[in-house]
Point group: C2
Chain length 345, copies 2
DNA sequence: CTGTTAGCGCCTTCAC
DNA sequence: GTGAAGGCGCTAACAG
C-alpha cells in the first residue's frame, strides 16, 4: 500500500528505504562486510568498518527486521498473549499493571513486544500471530482452561511462560504466579479476626487457577474457623460481575457481615452495591479485595486488599522467558502474597 | 534461538513450520498455485483449490508474515506510537482507553497492531520499529512538540495520523482531536456559573496542543467573565503532578474557591490534596476535571468533568489511517466536547 | 487456469 | 579480513 499515495493517476513509488546493498555500495565494500559491521562481527578491518559506519549514518540505514528474521532463527521479538476481550484488557488495572511492567522491563533491550489480544472465541488471529515466525517466545497472561493457547504453543514449539498458573492438564509449563491460595486465606482471616461470622465471597472464574485458588484459600480459612463456606457467588473479575455477585449474595443472606471479592475491581462495585442498598462499609459489612491495585486507595472507605505483586510477576516472567530463549531451563516461580489493611475491613 | 533447546549437548532443530512449498508438494501443485489459494486469487481451478486447502489444513500451515512483508508493499500491520514512559502509558486511563478502542476497532480485521512505547529521550527503538518495514502506517498518540516523531515519519514516508493535534510546525498532518479549547471554556464556565470567583487551574504541559488549548479555553472564559486568569500552575497530566500543582496554587492563593484540572488524573489528586488540607469539596473549593475517565465516578465527591470521547478519537483515527492506506485523502477531525456535571463542582 | 522464473533484504557458509 | 554465492518463504510477472 505504501506506493499508492499518488497525486493524480500516476503512482509515485515510495522512496525506497536504504538497504544493506546501498550501504555496501556507498562504503565500497561487499554486502557481506557491511552485514558484519552491522552485526558487530569482530573480523572486519578497521578502515572497512569505519567507512561502513559512515555510510550507515549518512543513509540513515536500519536493518529490515522482516528480512533478518527470515534468515535468522531468532526474531528478537516476543508476544504477550492475552486471551481476553480488548475492552477488558485495557480497562482492568491488573492487565495494565502487567503490561506496563513487561514493557518497562524490556525498555532497554532490543526485544520488541507484540501485544496479541484474543477475544475469547476467535483464536484465529492469535494463531496467526504466533505462527508466522515473527516471535521468539510468548508470555501468556490470562490463561483459561479451554482457551487452547497452550496447544498452539506446544504445537509450534514456541518457548512460553505463563503469568498465572495454567490449569491442571497443562502441567510442566513454566509459570509465575502469586500464592493465590494463601492470599484467599489472608482475606478470609482478616474478616474472621474482625469478628465477622457470616462471610460470603464473590469468587473469580473457576476455569482460571487464580479464581480457583483464591476460593480454595478462603474455604480453608473458613473451615479452620468453623464457619460455613456456602455463601459463594461467582464473577469474572470485572467490576460489573462484582456488583451482580453482591446482589445475589444479599438476596441469599441479607444478614451477611463480611465479603471477600476475588479482585479489587469486583470489590469496588461490591462496595458501591452495598452502599447503594444503604448498607455501611465496614460497619455493617466488611469488604476485602485482591490485587492492591491503584484504585484500592481511591474507594471510600479505602479498600483492604491482598497485595499480589504484578510487577514482580511480570518481571519474573520476562526473565524466565529470556532464560528459556537463551537455551536455559526454568522452574515455576511463586511469589508471596500479603494483606494490605485499610479501612474497608 | 529457537533451535537451542536441546536435551544434552546436541542441538535439536526446532520442528520446521510447514511452508508454502510443503503445502504445494502435498497438494501436488506448484508454489504459485498454492500461494493463489492462500491469497484468495479467483483464478484457480476448483480441484486444485480444494486439494491445496486440504493440505493447508492437514499441515496446519500459516503464511509467514515476515516473508510476505518482504515481498509485498504492505504488511497488514500498523504501529501505535506513544512517546511516553512505559509506566505512564499503562497507568494513565486516557491511554488505556485509546489503546483499548484501537484494538477493539481492529479486532475483526487482519491488521496487526504493534505498540511502540517510546520513553522520551530514547527514540532509537521507535525509529527501528518504524523503519524495518514492518508497518504500513502509524497512529501517534501523545505527540510532543520536540519528540521528533513526525520527522521520522515524514522521512520514511509512512502514512500516519495523530491523536491529538500536532503542535504548530507540523501543519498539514492528519489528526483527530477533541475541541480542547471549548472544553476548557466549559470547565471554567461551570465554575463561574457556580458562583466561584477566585479560580485557578492546574494546566497540562504546554508542549502538547491538548494542554495548551485547554488552558486557552479556560483563559478565554475567565476573561469573558471579567475574572483574573493569573492563577495557573502546570502539571503533566499525571496524578502526582496534579497534587503538586494544587499545593503551589494553595500557597499562592489560600482563598481560591475553584480549580480546573486539565486531566481527571490530576483532578483526583487535586481533590485529595484539598481534602488532606482540611478543605471541603465542593463547598470550599469546586473542582472540574477533564476526560470523563472511569475514575471520575469513583472519587468522593464524584468528579464533574469534561467528556472527551477517547473511543471516538481512536475510532476516527483508525478509519483515517485505513483510508490513507487505501490511497485516499483525509482531513483532520475535531470531535465535540461536553460537560459532565457531577458533584465536585 | 497453472507452472516457471525472479527477486524482496539479509545472513552465512565457503573460498580466497 | 573480505567477497561471491546460495537460500530463508513468499509473491508477482511472464509464459504457456
Amino acid at each position: 500500500m505504501r506506493d499508492v499515495r499518488a497525486a493524480g493517476k500516476e503512482t509515485v513509488p515510495a522512496k525506497r528505504l536504504p538497504t544493506l546493498e546501498d550501504v555496501a555500495a556507498r562504503a565500497g565494500v561487499s554486502r557481506a562486510t557491511a552485514s558484519r559491521v552491522v552485526n558487530a562481527d569482530p573480523r572486519v578491518g578497521r578502515s572497512a568498518r569505519e567507512s561502513v559506519q559512515a555510510a550507515i549514518r549518512q543513509l540513515g540505514y536500519r536493518p529490515n527486521r522482516a528480512a533478518r528474521s527470515l534468515v535468522r532463527p531468532d526474531a528478537d521479538s516476543i508476544a504477550v498473549v492475552v486471551p481476553e476481550a480488548e475492552e477488558r484488557v485495557f480497562s482492568d488495572p491488573f492487565f495494565s499493571a502487567i503490561l506496563g511492567a513487561i514493557y518497562t522491563k524490556l525498555a532497554d533491550s532490543p526485544v520488541q513486544v507484540l501485544l496479541a489480544v484474543a477475544p475469547p472465541g476467535k483464536r484465529d488471529k492469535i494463531d496467526r500471530y504466533l505462527r508466522g515466525g515473527y516471535t521468539d517466545g510468548a508470555i501468556v497472561v490470562s490463561h483459561h482452561r479451554d482457551d487452547g493457547i497452550s496447544d498452539v504453543l506446544r504445537e509450534i514449539q514456541l518457548p512460553a511462560v505463563y503469568i498465572g498458573r495454567p490449569h491442571a492438564g497443562d502441567v510442566g509449563l513454566p509459570y509465575v504466579d502469586v500464592d493465590n491460595e494463601t492470599g484467599g486465606m489472608l482475606a478470609a482471616q482478616r474478616l474472621i479476626d474482625g469478628g465477622r461470622r457470616r462471610i460470603g465471597t464473590v469468587a473469580g472464574p473457576q476455569d482460571m487457577a487464580s479464581g480457583f485458588d483464591r476460593l480454595t484459600g478462603w474455604r480453608r480459612a473458613m473451615a479452620q474457623a468453623g464457619l460455613a463456606d456456602d455463601l459463594v457467588e461467582y464473577g469474572d473479575f470485572t467490576a460489573a460481575s462484582g456488583g451482580e455477585g453482591m446482589l445475589r449474595l444479599l438476596e441469599r443472606e441479607p444478614n451477611l457481615d463480611g465479603v471477600f471479592a476475588a479482585s479489587d475491581l469486583m470489590a469496588v462495585s461490591v462496595i458501591q452495591e452495598l452502599q447503594g442498598s444503604g448498607i455501611t462499609v465496614p460497619e455493617d459489612v466488611a469488604v476485602v479485595g485482591f490485587d492492591d491495585s491503584q484504585m484500592a486507595k481511591l474507594t471510600r472507605p479505602p479498600l483492604t486488599t491482598v497485595l499480589s505483586t504484578t510487577t514482580g510477576m511480570a518481571g519474573a516472567a520476562v526473565e524466565m522467558l529470556l532464560t528459556l530463549l537463551g537455551g536455559g531451563q526454568v522452574e515455576h516461580v511463586i511469589l508471596p502474597t500479603e494483606l494490605v489493611p485499610r479501612d474497608s475491613a
